[in-house]
């Protein structure tokens, strides 16, 4: 199964930019399904955690008002090329996924 996460980094002059896209419906619970005419139950990512060399560098708490297929970007200092970067998410149905990449 392909990962739900795309995680990319770019380091310039000591600053690493992290960009992530997570494949997730982010259903609010307010949307009506066009075929069944029933409300689609809420299904959204609540927490995301990003670790640099096993230490949390950034963590997110989200509501259902983060857009479908969430995009996240942030920047940090102090990483070296080849360091480990891990992203883990979990949603309101206790689904979870994670990915690990090396910093570029």
């Amino acid at each position: 199964m392909a990962s739900t996460i795309r995680l990319k980094t770019k380091t310039r002059e000591g600053v690493t930019t992290v960009r992530a896209i997570i494949r997730h419906p982010m259903e609010t619970g307010f949307r009506v399904d066009s075929e069944s005419s029933e409300l689609v139950p809420a299904h959204y990512i609540r927490q995301v955690s990003i670790k640099h060399n096993n230490k949390v560098i950034m963590s997110c708490d989200w509501s259902r008002a983060v857009s479908k297929n969430p995009y996240l970007s942030f920047m940090f200092e102090g990483a070296n090329i080849g360091d480990k970067l891990q992203l883990v998410w979990s949603d309101n149905k206790n689904n979870t996924d994670s990915i690990e990449t090396l910093i570029e």
Binding site: V15, S49, Y71
Partner: protein, 150 residues
Amino acid sequence: MLRRDALKYILSGSALTIIGLIKPFAVMAKWNKTAFTAVDHEEAVRAYFPGQEIQSSDQITIGVHPIVENGTVVPIKIKTDLPNIESITIFADTNPNPLIANFDLFPGCIGFVSTRIKVQQNSNIIIMVKSNDTVFSKSTFIEVKEGGCG
């Protein structure tokens, strides 16, 4: 189980998901349900920053288009020069639940976050930045042509 099957299982996502299930919750703090389900903006702010005084600040820049065609995907970029940033929080005061997202930044992070949010109707977008134990805020108004809570 045949060795082949075991290998297939390990290589498939399911084994990874099980490992993933145990790990993430140990490192994640509790999701603030009271604040996230609050329907009133002031209530959400009080639940998220209990007892905190909030000061307005010009050291926060909100990058968002003032007129939005499609409220389901509103790109937003937040920058701040405030020192020792602990968190950046996004609210839209007219959304069904005004608290949209919080980002905890750990030492080493630059005061910057970019994401995409849903905004249901015309709204103030309020950004709160916690810096040196103080909460600073800045807000900007956006007009939404087509709502984003579907």
